[in-house]
Structure formats: C-alpha cells, structure tokens
C-alpha cells in the first residue's frame, strides 16, 4: 500500500518543513488525501495525524474526497467575475447537476471553483485537469462550455467502448 509515494517519503519524510510537499505529491498520486493516506503519512513522518488534517484543511488545494477523472477548475477571479463567470458556473451546474466541490455520479467530472488562473485577459476562463494534463479554455460562453463538456464525455464514452 502507498508504494507510489515511497520515493517521496524517502526523500522528504525526515526533512523538516516538507509536510505540504508530501501532501501535494500524495494527492498527485491518488487524486485526493484519504484517511488512510493521512494515517500513513503520520506514521512515516512522525507528524500527528490531527496536525496533518489541520494543514490539509487549511489549504484549498487539498481534497479529502475522491475526485472525478476531469477536474473543472472554473475561475471566479475578479476579471472572470466581471466578465460573467457566474453565468458559466450556472451553465456547468445545470448541465452536469453538480455544485462547487461535487463530483458527477459517473465519476467523470468534479467542479472546483478557483480564484484566478492568471489568464485574466481571456476571461471567463476554465482549466480542465484530465488524465492527459491540463488545458485552459478562455473567452467562454455558456454554449461553449456546454459543448466542451459534451465533447469530453463523448470522447470518454468512445474510449470505453
């Protein structure tokens, strides 16, 4: 168990101040921080599980629940807000039936509302983190985002069959 993060543990377990790095690498490997993973990190690093939980819940990057195959990082930074990000969120929510932080029943999408992806001049913006890395989409409209979601879903169905 947790063999994927063994190299990380070897490198960082004994280095003070590395907890956030360890949590990041663990999340990269498993998509989220499970209770078991936190217990394992506690055992390996000697940092109490309660403290790890405290750190993990402080930072928005960390997730304690499994996520979908694609994470929809929808920007609601200032530039995106001014350019109608609320409408885009509405479109995603309606189209997929999930709110911020939730995952679709088929495990395909998780909606993650973020504050600024640094592409503000293309607002409204969404970054999609999928199995093949991340891709950023700018100048979104409700129609564009709906067809993007359909495209991904269709691609996945095709790959599955």
């Amino acid at each position: 168990m947790f063999s994927e993060i063994e190299p990380v543990m070897e490198k960082y377990a004994g280095v003070p101040g590395s907890l956030i790095t360890i949590l990041q690498k663990t999340q990269d490997a498993y998509g989220y921080l499970s209770e078991d993973a936190i217990a394992y990190i506690a055992k390996r690093t000697g940092v109490p599980a309660s403290k790890i939980y405290g750190v993990a819940t402080f930072y928005t990057q960390f997730r304690l629940k499994p996520v979908g195959r694609y994470i929809l990082m929808l920007c609601k930074g200032t530039a995106c807000h001014v350019n109608g990000a609320a409408g885009i969120e509405e479109a995603v929510t309606e189209h997929l039936g999930i709110a911020d932080g939730e995952t679709t029943a088929d495990g395909l999408f998780t909606l993650d509302v973020v504050a600024c992806l640094g592409c503000c001049s293309l607002a409204p913006v969404m970054m999609v983190k999928g199995p093949d890395g991340e891709e950023t989409y700018g100048s979104l409209t409700k129609a564009k985002v709906r067809s993007l979601l359909d495209e991904i879903a269709a691609r996945e169905t095709e790959a599955a069959s």
């Binding site: 956030i20 995106c80 001014v82 592409c119 001049s121 293309l122």
Partner: protein, 587 residues
C-alpha cells in the same frame, strides 16, 4: 530565419501550442532537418508572452539579420501554412495594435516574449547575468544596497516598501552563526492579476539573477521561491531555468570564481491567499498552516526557521539586474519624485485590449486605460477601475487623470497593489463588486482574529442582503462602522485592508447603494433579484424566448411582439440569452 511562437499561459490557452505543432509538422515535411530543431535554415522557437494577450496566439518571424521581420497575431493552427508561405498578411499586426507595445517602457518585461525562457543562452545573449557578475566581482554588498537605494526601488508586491531598507536590515541582522534566507514571493494572490506569472513564464532568469544579487547583498546562500500552485507552467519554466543556471555555474557553488555560493529551490503553494503575507508565507514554507503572526520580530530578524530572512516580490527581483547593470540613476530617471522606475500592470475586465503593460510610474490612469488599453470593450462607458485587488479599491471614471504612483493612488482610497487593474463599465454593479471582494476575503481569512473572521462575514451578509433587495435604512452606516473596527482589530494586512473595496465603493458610488436599498433597483441592471425583464418593439415574434422560458412566463403570437408575465418571471435571463434581436431589456 527564426520563427518564435508566444507560449505564455494565455497564448497556450488560445492555441499557441497547436500553432507551434502545425508549424513544426510543415517544416518537417519540407525536410532539411539539421538535428538542432532547425529545418533548411529555419528555426522554430517558443517564447513567453509579449503582453498583448488579446491578440494571442502571436507568431514572430525574425530575419537572418536578427531583426523582427513580421509579427502575426491571432495566428491559429489553420493559418500555419499561410505564415510559412508568406500569404498571411491579413494577420500582420496593425499599427494601432503595435502601439499597445510601443507606448510602453519595458524594464521588467525587457525580455518577455522575445527570448526563449527555456534557454539560458538567450538570456545571457541579452545581457543576462552581467549584473550578477558585476555585483560579485566589482561591488561590495554595501555598494549593491546603495545602488538599490539610489534607484529608489520600492517593493512591487503591494506595500511599496523601499527595497534597500529591507536588504540593509537583513544584512545587519545577526544570524547567530546560522543561515540567512532570500525568499521570492510568487504567490500572486490578487485574483485578477498576472504580472508575476508572465515574468516567471517569460523571463525566469531575471528573477533568479535578482535573487542571487539580493542574496549576495544580505549575505544569504539559500533562496526559496514560493509559487502559487495554479501556475504549473511557471513552475516548469523555473525548474528548467534553475537547472540551466546551475549547469552554467551562475547559481550554485563559487559563482564566477568569487567563492560566493547561492542556490535556489522552489516551493509550490497550496492555495491560500493569506500566504502572500510574509509571516504566513514563512509558516507555509515550514509546512504549517499559513497563519500570520505579530510583527516585530520582522522576518529580517526572525524569519524562515527563525533566521534572518528577506522577502521580495517577483517583479521587485526582476528590476534588480537592470538597476545593477545600468546603475540606480538610470532606473530613477523613470517615474515620479517618490515612485521611481516602471510598473507592470495587468489590464483586464471590460477593457478592449487586455494584457500586460509596463509604464513609467506617474502616467495618468487614462493613458493606461485608453491610450494603451484602447478603452472599454464594445463601446460601453467607462465607470471605474479596481486596483489593488481585495486590499484595494475602485477608482471612479471622474478620477481618471490620477497619476499612477503609490501616493496618488493611495489618496483615492485604493492602492497600487501588485498591479492588477480591472476595468469596469456601466454594466458592472459596484455593490456587487464590494460583495464579490468580501466574499473572497471572508473565505480567505485565516480565522485568527475575531474581527477579520466574523467581521468580514457580517459585512458580506449585509452586502448580500442589499443585492437581494432586502437592504435596510442604516446598512451603509453599519458597513462603515464594521469597516473601521475590522481595520483596527486585525493583525495582518488581510483584515486591515479587507474593508477597502466596500469603503471606496461607498465613497464614490453611494448612489448605487441607495438605489438598491431605497428604490429596490440595481443601477447597473445586474443584481438578479432587482432586475425586471421586458420585451421591446424590436421583437419579431420568433417565439424562441417563449420556448426557452422555464416557467411559461412569456406569451405572444407568432410574428407578433411577445410579452412577459412579471408574476411568473423568475429572472433566469434565458429569454435575453436566446434573443437574436436584442429585444429583451433589463431594467
């Protein structure tokens, strides 16, 4: 011939990678590969972003003499063949768009979009690491600090604190035989700003060089860059840059044979706005919850691992090589009496030409927004510009002649901040903007101080109520009272500045608050609960709105103007979204 594709995050989001791939495939087809990425004398390169994000993807073609021969804009993959064939003249940048760049004065962005950030050779060819050599071989640390003092360089991270003063304090601090640290703040927390991202993506070595010079000045041998996790490309480019700098010997042991050692590592943030604050950033570097602590002791005395630590912003560091190479006086020649040099701004929002601009301090806001940014999108009217993000404020159109320098902007109630400039037009509701920022600070408050934790929540509740049409007489005064208390009762800059967006909007747009509270009307026709929809004479009776109305509130005969039953209307906006004739009006 050299072809350069601009691949900052914004370029990539606009398809720059696909353009590059298409160009590469076409060149490969032609044959003549020389094995170094060139084909029959044509090399294909990537660069960071030149800053005119609204024109992405941008492809530059350089002639054999090294000069820029052509700049193609909106160069999508479909047009790659035309660019190679020289039949893409319609994509050549217009004189008007070229003026977006020619009106700027670039010190921080001197290399961005021009050199390949993944090749240290190009940075060196552009004069890179000369300043570090000069500092290490010809200057004492005190002389370096003196030069930065002559330059009048002030921190670009928000507070505008003199850089030399911090360096001097860190230099004189007693490390008790232990280490000192040089930290780069690349957390870029202002949601709507992207200066630091562009610098890191476009010219990472400038930041490394600035850090090494600063490290030498304060007597540090270790540098750390704290980058926000949402910037994967910046992290990748920094990793490449650090590895190349070590290989070239400009970072690491015995730099330029002077015996000075300096190494840099990257630490990725984990998504917490408050970690941009120095003491919270240090707690985060140590693997803790990022909670600020009381100052003093200042980081210069007790910082990372309780050792003397200096923290500067990305842009501050990127200025340093210029200051050392060209001299402090050359830098101080730009700007105003108290705000020297240039400042990079991220122009976004309802602006016609969004992107990165670097101008001498003291230029009037109007010149930045209208002169360079081309004014407001879609011919709407300019209402306000937000500067300083959640710690800043909204400056109204009437004050558009305010010079952009630390003192003048502070007088308006906003702050220069890190450089975010969000432009707003008549359709932006100022009460909603205040609500937006309070929602942000309420979520980002670390929870340590009661006034910040509970006070921002109470302010948000009042603002939400107002935007929902449930505002009450006395709400404005209550907001002002809470604002004062939160400012006084908070330990760090987050709480101390969180009320600013509310205070500035009340100061300049009190009428909008009153319109919401007393008339139950949103001046900008934005707040959902307060708008009413109506169908005008422009309606041709296509029935599309009626078919899309979820509550059946719209009725009318085919080819005759339709009407909305206000009692049934839930204000979802579907009719407006679906009307092709602009016949649905919001009031």
């Amino acid at each position: 011939m050299r072809i350069v594709v601009g691949e900052g995050s914004c370029g990539v989001a606009s398809g720059a990678k696909k353009t590059e791939a298409a160009l590469a495939a076409l060149l490969a087809e032609r044959g003549g590969a020389a094995g170094d990425g060139s084909y029959s004398g044509i090399t294909l390169e990537k660069a960071g972003c030149v800053g005119n994000c609204y024109l992405e993807p941008v492809v530059d073609v350089y002639g054999d003499d090294g000069g820029l021969a052509a700049r193609y804009v909106r160069a999508t993959e479909e047009r790659a063949a035309d660019i190679l064939a020289g039949t893409a003249d319609d994509l050549l940048i217009s004189d008007e768009d070229a003026a977006f760049l020619s009106q700027q004065r670039r010190i921080v962005l001197r290399n961005a979009g021009l050199i390949n950030p993944e090749k240290i050779e190009e940075y060196i060819a552009a004069g890179g690491y000369e300043a570090l050599r000069k500092a290490l071989t010809q200057m004492t640390p005190e002389e370096v600090i003196e030069e930065v003092k002559v330059a009048g360089l002030r921190g670009r991270g928000g507070a505008g604190f003199p850089t030399w003063f911090k360096w001097d304090a860190a230099r004189n601090a007693d490390a008790g035989g232990g280490a000192k640290y040089m930290v780069c703040n690349a957390d870029e927390g202002d949601p709507g700003a992207f200066m630091d991202r562009s610098v890191l993506e476009g010219d990472p070595h400038a930041v490394l060089e600035g850090m090494a010079i600063g490290g030498y000045a304060i007597g540090a041998h270790e540098g750390v860059i704290y980058v926000r996790a949402e910037y994967p490309l910046a992290i990748t480019r920094l990793e490449i840059a650090i590895a190349q700098a070590e290989e070239k010997g400009v970072l690491g042991k015995d730099i330029f044979g002077t015996g000075y050692d300096f190494s840099i590592r990257i630490k990725a943030g984990a998504g917490a706005f408050v970690c941009g604050e120095e003491t919270a950033l240090i707690a985060s570097l140590e693997g803790e919850r990022g909670m600020p602590r009381l100052k003093p002791p200042f980081p210069a005395q007790k910082g990372f691992w309780k050792q003397p630590t200096n923290i500067n912003n990305v842009e501050t560091f990127a200025n340093v090589p210029f200051v050392i190479r060209e001299g402090g006086a050359a830098f101080a020649a730009y700007g105003t009496e108290k705000s020297k040099g240039t400042k990079v701004f991220a122009l976004a929002g309802k602006i016609a030409k969004g992107g990165l601009v670097e101008v001498p301090m003291g230029l009037p806001l109007r010149d930045v927004i209208f002169g360079i940014g081309g004014g407001i999108k879609a011919g709407r009217a300019f209402k306000a510009v937000q500067m300083g993000g959640p710690s800043g404020g909204c400056i109204p159109a009437a004050l558009a002649d305010t010079p952009v320098d630390y003192e003048s902007i502070t007088q308006t109630g906003a702050i220069v901040g890190s450089g975010g400039m969000i432009v707003m037009d008549e359709d932006t509701c100022m009460v909603d903007m205040a609500r937006y920022f309070l929602d942000f600070t309420r979520k980002e408050s670390c929870g340590k101080c009661n006034y910040c934790r509970v006070g921002t929540k109470r302010m948000l509740e009042i603002l939400e109520r107002i935007t929902l049409g449930e505002g009450r007489d006395g709400d404005i005064e209550l907001l002002e009272e809470l604002a004062g208390k939160i400012k006084d009762g908070s330990l760090c800059g987050l709480g101390q500045t969180a009320p600013n967006p509310v205070l500035t909007t009340i100061r300049y747009f009190r009428n909008e608050y009153e319109d919401h509270i007393y008339n139950k009307h949103c001046t900008a026709h934005y707040c959902k609960a307060l708008v009413t929809y109506a169908i005008t004479d422009a309606c041709v009776g296509c029935t599309k709105c009626a078919r899309n109305c979820p509550t059946g509130a719209i009725s009318g005969e085919v080819k005759k103007p339709h009407g909305i039953d206000q009692a049934k209307c839930v204000k979802c906006g579907k009719c407006e979204e679906n009307c092709a004739f602009g016949a649905v009006l919001r009031d």
